[in-house]
């Protein structure tokens, strides 16, 4: 779909050919020093990288030709001539980020630093796979066409409502992992890769939101954070030593399956405290007239969802408040167990239920503080996320940036100027093309062949 602007820059046109192939490791190191803001001048770069002046000059020349760094601005003079600032060209290409929730789709465009440039969210029923995929295409196309110049696209990072088991050593995906029962064999990753000629990554919403909260929300600079997402499903993410904790096979935080008991009833945390429970109890209260507020909404044709119950609670409806408080107490009980085990600095409660009102947060706090060791709660903060679904988009962008500039993957494409020319990616595309062709040929073959 997109022609790469640096295609003509692969070969140096004049001068002595540089021994660039053997310089790959230093190129990768220099680019990542600049990209991560560890240095902004040539002198600093020499010091931080421990390469000599000539090597730094050569590598910066190559990176400049590849469009990955620029020295167009000057820094502050400290005696002599003002030094040129070495900067990562974060606008060299764009990343598309997508989040699928049980009831919404979000899309956004990010630069190569992982900063979100634009985003859009809309309600959706993602149980219909075909329509959802078509909608994702349409929204990505809208994002791209609204840019003043169609940008190079270097990756698509998706977050989905379920655990995603992938090979931690794979640089990008070549097939769609299972993440929801209704999405088996969806071919989403393959289709996006072929349609947009870009590598694709997929992570769970909870993982992506934890990453987003860590880099753009209340989790900034936190070393230990527990992230709890409350929706139809309840999941957790963990940050340890400032890094997301992934577990053995990336199946962390599946707390929604834990058995919990309230009164005489025992069930999973999802069933006992999630959005479906809130919706069911709210609907009962509306139909029976127990809640006059919800009954009035129902009378006016409004579907009672968890959001309506949360808003009713915030408006002072006693029955709705009790439903949310009960959900918060049950969730708080589980979170207290995690807090006593993990001793986080910060617990962030996120998701539509937490976002719509403060009552859930208050009852989670009450349960956690009541059931935790005093040492655990001494400096513990329990906050509501302010990021909404933007956390998932920002986290997805961060995941893509980490993957693109991972030194092992970067070595494979840096001299080619674009990850879309990485040999593994091109091979993957070719293989997918052959499979698609065979499938099409098979579909067109006459019966009995």
């Amino acid at each position: 779909m997109h022609k790469d602007k640096s295609a003509s820059n692969n070969q140096r046109g004049k001068g002595r050919p540089r021994n660039s192939e053997v310089a790959t490791a230093s190129l990768v190191a220099v680019l990542n020093h600049v990209r991560l803001g560890q240095t902004t001048t040539r002198q600093d770069l020499e010091r931080v990288s421990e390469y000599g002046r000539a090597i730094i000059a050569d590598r910066l020349a190559i990176l400049t030709e590849l469009g990955l760094v620029n020295e167009s601005e000057t820094g502050v003079a400290t005696g002599g001539r003002a030094p040129r600032r070495v900067q990562f060209t974060k606008d060299r290409a764009r990343l598309v980020v997508v989040t699928l929730d049980q009831s919404a789709i979000g899309v956004g465009l990010a630069d190569l630093s992982g900063k979100l440039l634009t985003e859009h969210h809309e309600a959706a029923n993602i149980t219909d796979q075909t329509k959802t995929v078509a909608r994702i295409y349409a929204l990505i196309n809208w994002l791209m066409t609204r840019q003043s110049e169609t940008p190079d696209l270097w990756g698509i990072s998706i977050s989905v409502p379920g655990p995603v088991l992938t090979d931690p050593n794979a640089a990008f995906l070549l097939e769609t992992p299972n993440f929801l029962p209704s999405w088996d064999k969806s071919g989403l990753v393959e289709a996006l890769m072929q349609r947009f000629d870009a590598p694709v990554w997929m992570n769970s919403n909870v993982d992506a939101m934890t990453m987003g909260e860590l880099h753009g929300g209340t989790g900034i600079d936190q070393q230990t954070m527990l992230f709890i997402k409350v929706g139809q499903r309840i999941g957790a993410g963990l940050v340890s030593n400032g890094q997301p904790y992934r577990g053995a096979v990336r199946a962390t935080g599946l707390i929604g399956q834990l058995p919990v008991t309230s009164g005489d009833t025992t069930g999973t945390l999802d069933a006992m405290a999630g959005a479906n429970m809130i919706k069911a109890r709210g609907t009962e209260a509306a139909q029976s007239g127990e809640s006059a507020y919800l009954a009035d909404l129902l009378l006016r044709g409004t579907d009672i969802t968890a959001i309506e119950v949360c808003q009713a609670a915030q408006m002072g409806d006693a029955v709705s408040t009790e439903i949310i408080v009960q959900s918060g107490r049950i969730i708080g009980g589980v979170v207290a167990t995690l807090a006593n085990m993990l001793n986080p600095q910060l617990i962030v409660i996120a998701g539509s239920i937490a976002q719509t009102n403060d009552i859930l947060l208050a009852s989670v706090r009450e349960a956690v503080y009541g059931a935790s060791h005093p040492l655990v709660t001494r400096d513990l903060r329990i906050l509501r996320s302010q990021m909404g679904n933007s956390a998932a988009l920002l986290g997805a962008a961060g995941i893509a940036v980490s993957a693109l500039f991972d030194p092992t993957f970067l070595k494979g494409w840096i001299l080619l100027g674009s990850p879309t020319r990485h040999p593994d990616f091109l091979h993957g595309l070719e293989t997918l093309g052959s499979i698609t062709q065979q499938a099409n040929d098979g579909a067109q073959a006459p019966p009995g062949r």
């Binding site: 979100l116 985003e119 349409a138 409004t302 959001i307 719509t356």
Partner: protein, 336 residues
């Protein structure tokens, strides 16, 4: 009418009733002798002027003094200058409609970093978060407005026709939502209709872009313009064509209302309620200044306005009667 859109961060909407002021709240606000500034993208549109009236009136009832109302004329530089200047005045709150999503971000962040409460109207610069960088966003349900405009135009589109969309090329939450919702409604409900989009960067460009879009796609049988001011320019540009394409838009401005009442080319409007939105903005501002939590996104539903209800809708929105000329034209008034 139910809110169908989601907020800039995917939030569910809260109704304006969530920010209700009780008599004791008003008494408490009056005792604080609050100072508030208003920074608008423009004051040229009927919508903006009426919204500001709603804000100022409600703030006045709460004893809050409006120290300035700035017209940024859609200019980032003007808005940045205004925000920098007003920050030094240390008002209790600033109410702002950001002119875009990128260049004015830092100036808005500096307001909240200075401890001044920031309430946003209609648009949130990318990266700013509710409760942290601003108090609340108060807007119409812009996704719903786009759907209303699509539905109104659909009745005038023959099978297999195309619809032209005149979209705003700035990255702006409200107009993005309207544009996306219009196309989405057509995709779901009129799959036979192809949507062709052109963008304009200034109101004065909209007519030219519309004419060019129709020249490029002769199958276009109707237009949607994302708000009323550029729509007036589009109406002028297409009025000499034969046939004149039917047009829908958002906001029942005076000229658009006249076109609708006279039978076209504007055949339907997704109406906002700027005065009520202004009241909600002011109530949100007072609520946060009384140290109470506010919803992340307060949204007001739109009004479906067609020729059959344009007079009463006009009165609802503008709080004054329609012009005598139109009333006579519609046989609602006999004497001149």
């Amino acid at each position: 009418m139910k809110i169908v859109g989601l907020g800039p961060h995917g939030e569910s909407a809260s109704p304006p009733e969530r920010v209700t002021l009780l008599p004791q709240d008003i008494t408490a606000a009056c005792a604080k002798k609050l100072r508030v500034a208003i920074v608008m993208h423009t004051l040229e549109s009927n919508w903006a002027r009426l919204l500001v009236q709603g804000v100022i009136g409600t703030l006045g009832e709460c004893g809050a003094i409006v120290i300035d109302v700035v017209d940024c004329n859609f200019s980032s530089a003007t808005q940045i200058d205004a925000l920098d200047r007003l920050r030094k005045e240390s008002p209790d709150a600033i109410i702002s409609l950001p002119v875009n999503n990128t260049t004015v971000t830092e100036a808005h962040l500096a307001i909240s970093e200075a401890g001044i409460k920031l309430v946003l109207i209609d648009n949130v610069p990318t990266g700013m978060l509710p409760g942290k960088d601003y108090v609340s966003l108060v807007s119409a349900d812009n996704f719903g407005l786009g759907r209303i405009a699509a539905e109104l135009l659909s009745d005038h589109l023959p099978q297999g026709a195309a619809a032209g969309v005149l979209a705003y090329d700035a990255d702006f939450f409200a107009t993005n939502e309207r544009e996306i919702a219009f196309s989405r409604w057509m995709e779901v409900n009129r799959p036979d209709v192809a949507v062709k989009t052109a963008t304009f960067s200034t109101i004065g460009d909209a007519g030219h872009e519309a004419a060019q879009l129709i020249n490029d796609h002769s199958e276009i049988a109707g237009l949607f313009v994302v708000w009323d001011s550029p729509c007036i320019d589009v109406v002028r540009a297409v009025s000499k064509r034969n046939p004149i394409p039917p047009i829908t838009t958002v906001d029942l401005g005076h000229e658009v209302a006249e076109s609708l009442a006279k039978g076209g080319p504007v055949i339907g409007v997704a109406g906002q309620r700027p005065f009520q939105q202004g009241e909600a903005v002011a109530r949100t501002t007072i609520t946060t200044l009384l140290d109470r939590n506010c919803p992340d996104w307060v949204a007001l539903p739109g009004l479906i306005v067609s020729r059959s209800n344009v007079i009463e809708s006009y009165q609802t929105i503008w709080r004054k009667p329609m012009s005598r000329e139109i009333l006579i034209e519609l046989n609602l008034l006999k004497s001149k």
